[in-house]
């Protein structure tokens, strides 16, 4: 058990070091250095000013030192200042973080609460019309690209029918409303982005749940539960799901990178002021500190989520607690 945890921590640590190293090297070895806030065309390149800026941002030091220096500051969550508006990168990211977290946690919650009952229903009535219909629908959903669906929903439900807001996190003037009204308004704005973010993984998850439950239903422990005269509902929920739910945890951990990646596209389409949208803006302005900060923070979130899933897995699966089982 200790060895398993140690291995997971090692992986988590190397993921973080790897991602900071890769992004740092990549961004600094490419041509084109940022010349922040300088209007070269009107004043002409003044070498002294460029030199001063280079030393102010540490761009004239060796790359290795720049990395170590930067990594040390990253550990203290200090990413420096943005090259665009000179505000602290940490502040810029932290004001976007709640928006992205809200979107991703809502998506994760919906995936779990819908996919497992759906998969269980399909597994319990295997080969019935319900099973075949959900199977087909889920397959179709899984193949639909989320950003296309987002565009379609925007055009159909937001512009065409006006049922949902087109974009943004809140209605105009919502800040002056009472808290419950603001809250409902936020949920209403979240509906379309969360749906687009979750349906693909939901379909995958439900199919996975069905396959796993079918396997569990065919196992000997379930057969013995049936032979003891337990009803189908109890057999399915207690005995089959009891042994089938553990792999869902690992899958949830692997789902996080997909969700975080997907939120770049979805946030862009729905003008959602999250980290994905900030990344998109920063890429166009070559705002190195913000890009690096965003990459590190999103990777940290993903790694933390995966580590949490792994730890829960350890607690849930008694076989892993026996030291002999660990290779």
């Amino acid at each position: 058990m200790i060895a398993y945890l140690f291995r997971r921590l090692l992986v988590a640590g190397s993921t973080l070091v790897g991602i900071t190293l890769v992004t740092f090297v990549m961004l600094h070895l490419t041509p084109g250095e940022p010349s922040p806030g300088l209007n070269i065309e009107t004043r002409g390149p003044d070498q002294a000013i460029i030199q001063a800026l280079r030393s102010r941002y540490g761009l004239d030091r060796p790359l290795g030192l720049q990395y170590l220096d930067w990594a040390g500051r990253v550990a203290r969550l200090d990413f420096g200042r943005s090259l665009v508006d000179h505000r602290l990168v940490r502040t810029r990211i932290l004001e976007r973080l709640p928006h992205t977290l809200a979107l991703n946690l809502a998506a994760l919650g919906i995936i779990f609460t819908v996919a497992i009952p759906l998969g269980a229903l399909a597994a319990a009535r295997r080969n019935s019309t319900v099973d075949q219909a959900t199977g087909f629908a889920l397959y179709a959903l899984y193949a639909l690209p989320s950003f296309w669906v987002a565009l379609l929903l925007q055009a159909g439900l937001a512009v065409g029918l006006g049922w949902f807001p087109l974009a943004g996190p809140a209605s105009e003037g919502a800040a002056a409303w009472s808290p419950p009204a603001r809250w409902l308004d936020g949920l209403w704005h979240m509906a379309l982005p969360v749906f687009c973010l979750s349906y693909g993984s939901l379909a995958f998850f439900a199919r996975f749940a069905r396959a796993n439950l079918l396997e569990a239903l065919a196992s000997e422990s379930v057969r013995s539960a049936r032979s003891r005269g337990l009803g189908p509902g109890r057999v399915l929920w207690r005995h089959a799901l009891g042994q089938a739910w553990i792999p869902f945890l690992t899958l949830a951990g692997l789902l996080l990178p997909t969700l975080v990646s997907g939120s770049v596209l979805i946030e862009r389409i729905f003008a959602w002021p999250g980290m994905g949208a900030l990344l998109y803006e920063s890429l166009f302005t070559r705002d190195y500190p913000t890009i690096l900060g965003l990459t590190v923070i999103s990777a940290t979130l993903v790694v933390a989520g995966t580590l949490l899933a792994d730890t829960l897995y350890l607690l849930a699966d008694p076989r892993l607690r026996r030291p002999a089982q660990i290779p």
């Binding site: 291995r7 090692l10 992986v11 988590a12 190397s14 993921t15 790897g18 991602i19 890769v22 992004t23 990549m26 961004l27 490419t30 084109g32 080969n127 899984y142 193949a143 639909l144 690209p145 950003f147 296309w148 565009l151 379609l152 055009a155 512009v159 396959a211 079918l214 396997e215 692997l254 990178p257 975080v260 990646s261 997907g262 770049v264 596209l265 862009r268 389409i269 990344l279 998109y280 890429l283 166009f284 070559r286 890009i291 965003l294 990459t295 999103s298 990777a299 993903v302 790694v303 995966t306």
Partner: protein, 322 residues
């Protein structure tokens, strides 16, 4: 046809996809397929990769083929008689009609032609990135599965690290700094898609390393490299290739997403994701619907194919999912 062998829908659809990707210049082009003047000419064929070099003539690329050619007697035009880059401001946002089958975009370029040529780009990116991922994944997986111990530990942890990377963030970062080009885009996407392939290869190689056939090869005096490359790898590739089909569908989806954000395929080359990006905010339904349908169909095709192969390989699975 061999009796008792049914044509599987996935295989058939894949052939259609491949044919459209390869024959895009013959399906959508302003050049005629056949031009009969003083002799016979095949101008559209000149734009087909490789084969085109045999018939392409100097000056063809600058000619305006929509006008009647000197000494022209008769011509056969492709089904979509427009090239993907032909701008015509008179046809700005033309809705679908007999002239423009699927309508035209903001510059009056024919949407059908752009979608057909988008197939080439998408399949190209899918194939090249999957081959890149396969090369890396199979090599690392074989190394880990065959040598074991330290190499296995390093590669296995590497796989886990790579699986936890939010790769789309990384791809966007890299691509925003590299010069835009299709082969480069495909390679960079491929560099992010090897981990699961390496994992499959490692598992298969480990399983086969214990097989009697390997023992027999060793007993016959084969060295470790020969055992790995001649005896183990050829037998372990099938499940890896099945996984690779799903990776290809994923890579095509990633390309579409990157092009949608403006960091993928450079203009004027059409990409389905790029077409969708231009559709956003245009308020023209045909620009939103048709490229998305093409993308979905292509991805479903490849996934159905992968699914069929997987069922064929793993009978236990087809029992569970009839």
């Amino acid at each position: 046809m061999i009796p008792g062998r049914k044509v599987r829908p996935g295989g058939l659809a894949l052939m259609v996809l491949g044919a459209v990707a390869l024959g895009a210049p013959l399906l959508a082009n302003d050049r005629p397929l056949i031009l009969r003047g003083s002799g016979w000419q095949f101008p559209a064929l000149g734009e087909v990769p490789i084969l085109g070099r045999l018939v392409e003539q100097p000056g063809w690329s600058r000619r305006d083929w929509s006008l009647p050619q000197p000494s022209e007697r008769w011509r056969l035009s492709p089904p979509v008689p427009f090239s993907f880059r032909q701008v015509s401001l008179a046809d700005r946002y033309a809705p679908p009609s007999r002239h423009h089958l699927l309508g035209a975009d903001a510059l009056g370029r024919d949407l059908a032609a752009r979608i057909v040529h988008g197939t080439t780009v998408s399949v190209q990116v899918g194939l090249v990135s999957t081959c890149t991922a396969l090369a890396i994944g199979v090599l690392l997986g074989a190394l880990a599965g065959y040598t074991g111990r330290a190499a296995d530990f390093v590669v296995s942890r590497g796989i886990e690290v790579a699986l936890a990377f939010p790769t789309f963030f990384l791809l966007l970062g890299v691509l925003s700094l590299l010069p835009p080009s299709v082969p480069l885009l495909a390679m960079v996407i491929g560099l992010t898609r090897w981990p699961s392939l390496a994992r499959y290869t490692r598992a298969e190689v480990m399983r086969l390393a214990q097989a009697p056939l390997v023992e027999a090869a060793r007993a016959a005096g084969a060295g470790p490299a020969r055992v790995l490359f001649r005896h183990i790898l050829p037998h372990s590739l099938t499940p890896v290739l099945v996984a690779a089909t799903f990776q290809m569908a994923g890579a095509m989806l990633v390309e579409a997403g990157l092009s949608f954000l403006g960091f993928g395929v450079p203009e004027p080359l059409p990409s389905w994701g790029g077409l969708l990006s231009q559709a956003q905010g245009s308020g023209r339904w045909w620009l939103v619907i048709f490229p998305g349908v093409a993308l979905t169909l292509a991805i479903t095709t490849i996934q159905v194919l992968g699914e069929q192969y997987r069922e064929k390989l793993d009978p236990r699975l087809s029992r569970l999912q009839p």
